[in-house]
Symmetry: C2
Subunit: 649 residues, 2 copies
């Protein structure tokens, strides 16, 4: 293959089936190729067995009846499916769903016929390797050291985030388990690396300091303890006996109180106030508790405010509350805001010595992770921002701040990136990556010392280290084939994602410049990636509650949510409520611009906005007969007028 050094760029029109199925002939050819290839694989396996199903069998009434039932019921299903949502169309600009790459669809189907389960290596020798390749590609894009990183696919972002936190908790409490084991093994003199190059013996650390050993130092300490012990297996067992995973929270709390006599508050989990609702679920399911979730305020661009993060950390340190982990979001669900990972890392660095607070940083890039591809040259080198900006004829995207944040993710301990979102591949395909592969051992259900023998070259099993117990190898093949066609750099995914970001900026500008009188469109700031949100004002909307209702009615007219058939919808949007209890003052300017006061905002519970995710690269890139930007604006005008009538009548 000479793809990389070829001067021809990836043609986006060749990636998708197309809004009108323009590439149907190519797709069908590849599909039948994949199917027949599989059939003849079957036929070549022990041909001497002959045929289990004879041609004559197929003429038997029972066979004919069963086959007819299948064909008939399939027609029924196809009829049902037509009630679905036309995600493929440039007219769809609602949720984070879109048309998929042909590569991923054909790759998924081709592999599904083989039905490998990537949790069991014995049943998936090929697709497990493809999954580890895909994870390595994502890790390389992020900038993790290849020999140290580890990652795998999950069923989605929630499970990926869950797993990152499950791991983070095990790392957090590891020094406590090590201290317990060291005490038993007579190794309490083992030195621990603390901030500023200082060291202290493990046995001399109190509970607070054990809970604030930086994550890499904790993993190094575990290595050194196992190496220093006379019997590695016995030492590993001693450590395991002191872990939270083994003992459980209830008994753990009792033991800590007994051994340290130190009633530290439960550890906090820091997320930006834009964080996805799934973080609630995760801390509940893990037994951490929703009360431990601390929302760090965001700035006017809906990015976690680094100053506010520092203030939050200082307050927690003052109360001697440990921090289990901090989450930075790369592409918030509502606004596609990109948290300044570069500045958050600086804050974290400072906190270790200045506040005595150390914690893992997890990046939730479920949505925006693939955008990191714009920071990579085709040869894998880091791009310069100026070159990335030059790809945009309007020189607007990516902004310097977004670019810096994307490039900084390499400094985080773990990151979630969903191929089934901005990777344009079918569900289910989330991914979680860890900077330091040693963390795997902490969640493995097998004895840790077993794995020391693993050769780095062989394909290693994924199953022992992850939460899920079965996982389609087809998903790995789908992502793998998509990455072959569209590499994880500026020439591949960067090009596609850049097209959608420019589409969003074009829509944002047109909405800002257009006259909607007597309506007034009140926009959120320019998005970091590709989501445009806006509220709507009108002289007849006397209260914020009424303005929020208008958004609800307009959404019902521009979606299938209220049972409207999709053929009656000309453009699709979605809506969201920016809740006062999560966003705090960050949404106040929006309320003011709508003409309402702070007390209106709090009473209404938040500001409702219409929300458009631009994923279709053809939206602003006029190729067909319809100018979709113009069409969207015209549809919005008409639907707002109709919605107003519903609200005020």
């Amino acid at each position: 293959m000479t793809r990389r050094d070829d001067s021809l760029p990836v043609e986006l029109a060749s990636l998708f089936l197309g809004p009108k199925g323009e590439n149907a002939d190519l797709f069908e050819r590849l599909l039948t190729e994949a199917f027949r290839d599989h059939v003849f694989w079957r036929r070549n396996f022990h041909p001497e067995d002959g045929f289990e199903i004879a041609e004559l069998d197929k003429r038997a009434p029972a066979y004919e009846r069963s086959a007819s039932v299948l064909a008939q019921e399939l027609l029924g299903l196809l009829a049902e499916l037509k009630g679905g949502v036309p995600f493929f169309s440039p007219r769809y600009a609602g949720h984070m769903t879109s048309e998929l790459t042909m590569a991923s669809l054909v790759g998924y189907f081709a592999t599904m016929l083989y039905n490998p389960n990537n949790v069991a290596l014995e049943g998936s020798p090929v697709t497990t390797r493809l999954e580890l390749e895909v994870a390595a590609q994502l890790a390389a894009m992020v900038g993790y050291p290849p020999a140290e990183a580890w990652g795998h696919l999950t069923s989605g972002g929630t499970i990926a985030n869950f797993e990152a936190f499950w791991v983070a908790r095990n790392v957090k409490y590891l020094p406590v388990a090590l201290a317990g084991a060291a005490d038993e093994l007579g190794l309490a003199d083992l030195q621990v690396d603390l901030c500023g190059g200082r060291r202290a013996p493990l046995g001399a650390l109190d509970l607070w300091r054990l809970l604030n050993v930086p994550p890499p130092a904790a993993l190094d300490l575990a290595d050194r303890l196992l190496a220093a012990a006379p019997d590695r297996a016995a030492a590993a067992d001693a450590v395991a006996r002191h872990t939270l995973a083994r003992v459980g929270y209830q008994e753990y709390g009792r033991r800590l109180a007994l051994e340290f006599g130190d009633p530290l508050p439960a550890a906090a989990v820091l997320v930006p106030s834009t964080a996805h609702y799934s973080w609630q679920k995760i801390v509940r399911a893990l037994g951490i508790g929703a009360d431990q979730l601390v929302h760090v305020p965001v700035d006017g661009r809906f990015r976690m405010d680094p100053e506010a993060l520092w203030a939050t950390l200082a307050a927690l340190a003052a109360k001697r509350t440990p921090v289990l982990a901090t989450v930075a979001v790369l592409g918030s669900t509502e606004e596609s805001a990109v948290d300044r990972v570069d500045r958050i890392l600086e804050v974290r660095e400072r906190a270790v010595c200045d506040l005595g607070l150390a914690f893992p940083l997890h990046v939730d890039g479920a949505w925006g992770g693939y955008a990191i591809s714009v920071t990579r040259e085709p040869d894998g080198a880091r791009r310069e921002h100026a070159r990335a900006l030059a790809d945009d004829p309007g020189r607007r995207w990516p902004s310097e701040e977004v670019f810096a944040a994307l490039a900084a993710v390499a400094g985080a301990d773990s990151v979630t990136i969903d191929p089934h979102k901005f990777g344009y591949v079918p569900y289910p395909a989330g991914a979680v990556l860890f900077r330091d592969r040693r963390v795997r051992e902490l969640v493995s259900t097998e004895a840790p010392y077993v794995f020391q023998e693993e050769s780095p070259d062989s394909v290693s099993a994924i199953g022992p280290y992850i939460l899920e117990g079965s996982k389609p190898g087809a998903a790995a093949a789908a992502v793998w084939l998509a990455h072959r066609v569209l590499p994880l750099d500026a020439s591949g995914y960067g090009r596609l994602i850049g097209a959608t970001a420019r589409g969003a900026l074009a829509l944002h500008r047109r909405l800002a410049e257009s006259d909607f009188a007597p309506f007034r469109i009140v926009l959120l700031p320019e998005p970091d990636l590709n989501i445009v949100c806006f509220a709507v004002a009108h002289p007849q909307l006397a209260s914020l509650e009424q303005a929020n209702r208008l958004i609800g009615r307009a959404h019902a007219r521009m979606s299938v949510a209220a049972g409207r058939p999709s053929r009656e919808v000309s453009y699709f949007v979605t809506k969201t409520l920016l809740r006062a209890e999560e966003y705090g003052d960050a949404v106040l300017p929006l309320a003011h611009e709508l003409g309402f006061a702070a007390e209106d905002y709090r009473r209404a519970g938040g500001v409702a906005v219409l929300r458009s995710t631009l994923m279709n690269p053809f939206f602003a890139d006029r190729r067909g007969k319809t100018d979709h930007l113009e069409g969207f604006l015209a549809a919005l005008r008409a639907e707002l007028a109709a919605a107003l009538e519903e609200v005020t009548s």
Copy 2:
């Protein structure tokens, strides 16, 4: 459709693509039908937009190059996939993996083109409905009351089991939260239903009794508390503030100690000693702790021993250790043993009054759940055992005990059933079902009172109640179409599963009757479902360790595990180690039969066995040129001889 009252049975040969792709023509016709149907749906959506990709665009060098890369890379993938495992063949009798139904494959592909996400109702109005239909079908098969049950699909059995336990924990601690809220709301006089029709005021219960309120009584109590409160929303909020989910384990433990002054041990989780390793993962991730996992001994048929369960419960009650939940397994991973759910339910019933111990029962039917279909007539009525037995010409399967256990699952609080195992559909498709839909509210991240308005007729969203954050609607459609072709009763899945069980019994008998001298095949008892396990003795195998190594070598020769290409394997098996630390004395008879003593067994750590899962209905049903039963035996003889040479040389 007149399928149900038609006298022709389902023809199993029409369900699958076939070991030699015999049904390839039918499959390809349905596949292209589904694909073209989708293309023309696209074309009919706003035809006035014209085409975004013109025919002339496709002649441009950049397009041609991109399309060529796709076709080339797909060929590369197809070549890779040929290194996979021939699950489709009757020669494959290893893991729980098999050929899939054509219905599920075509249904999956047809729906994948639409890419619905069943976590978001707005993006999956059709497939969310199909998923709820499928869950209702499974619940009806189990025997849950239709109006009260609730269920959904998951990415697999581990997540399904995880969710069942997440729910069970919330139900377990609910009375404690209710007591806390009642105290605040002045409702401490509320009556609680206790065993034997007795009642007591909520405020009078101590911590031990609060943790032993039977699950349905706890849910009723929550309803009554919300109804009695003057402000329902405020009351729901008060309850939420006292839940473990909100407070987190650490703070919860502190509060309980403070309020009740009662240092109860952490709650135990009871599983049979055959339980899947994922239970370890689940109790670790939930923060329950692996130490809280209690293995209940199994009997000679590898089923949880009800007497041993009673003894375990009595011992826990004597130590005042609460029981978080008990798990019964329907089809153990190694032996396909079916726990006597009927007798376990009796033990649970007795424990409430006699031991003061109440707890939820979860059935892990990830593997064997679909076998419940043999207990259903096509009209949904419960079959009689005699009728089920009459389906087997040999009158051997299902045994009366297995039938009673399958029929009793209706009495469990929750059950896991994986369509992607015994349902013959592609990954990812697990399912979890709950007897009482009210439990959903306990894990919902939205305020519970919000959901009171939901109309029972409308399609309700799945997302708020489950762990996962995205989920392919295609999986729901695949299961749905499979169930249309093969109903969940004796005429459908019952027929298919019966065929595999009879294949396993036939293999078991042939292995028992055949002469392998100088080898001796030492079989586990007849399987409850369709897995045959056996150890191997030989005069030259001087130690159990050596006998176990022989199994390892034989497995390497009869699988692709050691990198062997699949074309060189004539029959596939897998292997497993029945570990002494889990199985205890249940495996001793096997060691004895091999000629080894109890101390050999403990020293070796367990007994290794070859394991054959019979999923292919054609294995023992001779249709092609090869007698696979005979072929399997011949291959086994040859591979054992070769393996012996490797072990003893």
